[in-house]
């Protein structure tokens, strides 16, 4: 028995000893322990033995084997190369891989067919199709729920989580209008495309009070602003409203189609138009939100409308 084999046997015994020290009889080498542990320990033992003897085999081959065959003509610093045939199995695998590579480049996964944007487009198209199918006919409750979650992401940064406008930083959506907004519109006119088209409202120099037959006065503006902001309740300002505003905005303030928007309550069409065109008024400017899908706009309309009820 030569030294290499002896060394391998020593290593095997040492490794088995180490395994025993590490896991012990109870850990799996003995009768105790569960079968997973036993399997693991068995695997370790087999690995140690097989590795040691495979290594021994190749070390001995390097020590004693004599190569044979015809030497190639050239050598590099005295190191030559035999002109042996490639083993048959290797040759088959090599050729097979070349054929597979051609298939892979041309048919399996053609060059240039992947793009990150393409993957993105597919992802979006698949999502949109699924979204449309799922939300084709939403009932009022689903709309409101969806609108609420969109509101948190898109609207809450300005209007606040409670939709209260965060201390006047944006419109308080729990009421249709605030007094200062009404006043601002009466004094300066408005062209905010709330109807989805150009339909400007004149400023105070174009607002007649039919009751008095004269232009609307400061006192009347104050009164009617309070009246509209207060939800059109009570009697103060009601006469001014009837005289100066009702002709376009309707006696109940709910607006007239193609003429004037609702100033009494929010409605989904109004919300949709604000989202589409943005808005600028007494409080500040609101940008347009054209990135929302149709269903999302509908949902926000339902949600915002529900806030002030």
């Amino acid at each position: 028995m030569n030294k290499t084999v002896l060394a391998a046997i020593v290593v095997v015994i040492a490794m088995l000893g180490f395994t025993y020290a590490a896991v012990g009889m109870a850990g799996g080498m003995g009768g105790e322990g569960d079968w997973v542990n036993k399997l693991a320990v068995l695997g370790a033992v087999v690995l140690v033995i097989v590795t040691s003897f495979v290594v021994t085999k190749y070390v001995r081959q390097m020590q004693f084997d004599k190569a044979s065959g015809k030497l190639a003509d050239e050598n590099w610093d005295g190191i030559g190369e035999y002109k042996n045939e490639l083993p048959f199995g290797w040759a088959i695998i090599f050729l097979g891989l070349i054929i597979w590579a051609i298939w892979y480049f041309l048919a399996g996964y053609p060059v240039g067919t992947y793009s990150q944007i393409g993957e993105y487009n597919e992802e979006v198209a698949a999502h949109d199709a699924k979204f449309e199918a799922e939300h084709a006919n939403m009932d009022e409750e689903t709309l409101k729920e969806m609108g609420g979650s969109i509101f948190i992401v898109q609207c809450a940064p300005c209007h606040g989580l409670q939709a209260d406008g965060i201390d006047g930083k944006a419109a308080n959506l729990n009421n249709r209008l605030e007094e200062k907004s009404v006043k601002h519109v009466i004094q300066n006119g408005s062209n905010n495309q709330l109807l989805g088209m150009e339909m400007p409202m004149p400023d105070r120099n174009g607002l007649m009070n039919a009751n008095t037959g004269a232009l609307i006065s400061d006192a009347e503006i104050d009164a009617v602003s309070k009246y509209v902001a207060g939800g059109m309740k009570g009697t103060t300002g009601a006469d001014v409203f009837a005289g100066a505003c009702a002709a376009c905005h309707g006696a109940d303030g709910k607006g007239t189609e193609m003429v004037a928007p609702s100033i009494a309550v929010f409605n989904p069409t109004l919300v949709a138009n604000v989202l589409k065109h943005g808005k600028k008024g007494a409080i500040g400017a609101m940008p347009a939100f054209n990135n929302l899908t149709e269903a999302q706009v509908k949902a926000l309309g339902a949600y915002v409308t529900s806030l002030s009820k």
Partner: protein, 230 residues
């Protein structure tokens, strides 16, 4: 020849470098040259916007905010269309950032307004509950550096032929022109005109007074820059 190369490691390394460099040139450069053309609708910065950009860099906003919308649905839903290389054509340097502590700002001009920025810069947590962004109150007091912004405009115009005073096609088919003033004084006057537009939408009386007196606080330049990001 290959035997010769194998015997001369230095020249072998040179040959490897040349081969790889050549492959790189023909694969990367044409695509790069094409993609870095400005996209339709991308225009150079005006003096005030550039001054705001300097404020952005000075306060290291890119430490927390990226300017690069990746083509993921979650990002495009929130921020808008994914970023294209051509959109950075006039960004020197680009401010992509990689630490996304705060939201992406690539298209913040599309969905935030002057008054929102004003409120937010003064006290971020007041508008965004739970925000960990610090307040940037000194921007309301410091004066924006228009001189440097103008100097940069002149430089990029001369060195990189950035198209100032040139008609630039916009996405909606119209043309836009970004003016480059002839002198520093003209540039300052033009920046002040721009600043007045921004300040008109602001509420801070000190800022309004400063702009009325011919000063441009940093916050005005900053907001002009943020509004320009679309």
């Amino acid at each position: 020849m290959f035997h010769w190369l194998e015997k001369h490691p230095f020249f072998f390394a040179v040959a490897v470098f040349l081969t790889i460099a050549f492959a790189g040139l023909i694969e990367i450069l044409p695509n790069f040259a094409q993609a870095s053309q400005p996209t339709v609708g991308t225009k150079p910065y005006s003096t005030l916007e550039l001054a705001g950009r300097h404020v952005y860099i000075k306060n290291n906003c890119m430490g927390c905010h990226s300017q690069l919308i990746r083509p993921f649905k979650s990002e495009t839903d929130r921020y808008g269309h994914y970023s294209l290389s051509g959109e950075y054509a006039y960004d020197r340097p680009f401010l992509w950032g990689s630490k996304r502590t705060g939201p992406d700002l690539m298209r913040v001009g599309n969905y935030r307004t002057t008054d929102w920025h004003e409120n937010h810069m003064k006290d971020p947590a007041a508008v965004v509950p739970g925000s960990i962004m610090p307040a940037y109150r000194w921007m309301f007091k410091n004066t924006a550096d228009i001189d440097t912004a103008y100097a940069e405009q002149v430089t990029v115009n001369k060195v990189f032929a950035t198209p100032y005073n040139t008609e630039i096609p916009m996405a909606d088919g119209t043309k836009a022109t970004v003016a480059l003033a002839g002198t520093l004084d003209e540039a300052k006057a033009a920046a002040l005109e721009e600043a007045k537009v921004v300040a008109a939408d602001m509420k801070d009386q000190d800022v309004k007074d400063a702009v009325a007196a011919g000063q441009i606080p940093e916050i005005v330049a900053m907001i002009a820059y943020l509004n320009s990001m679309k």
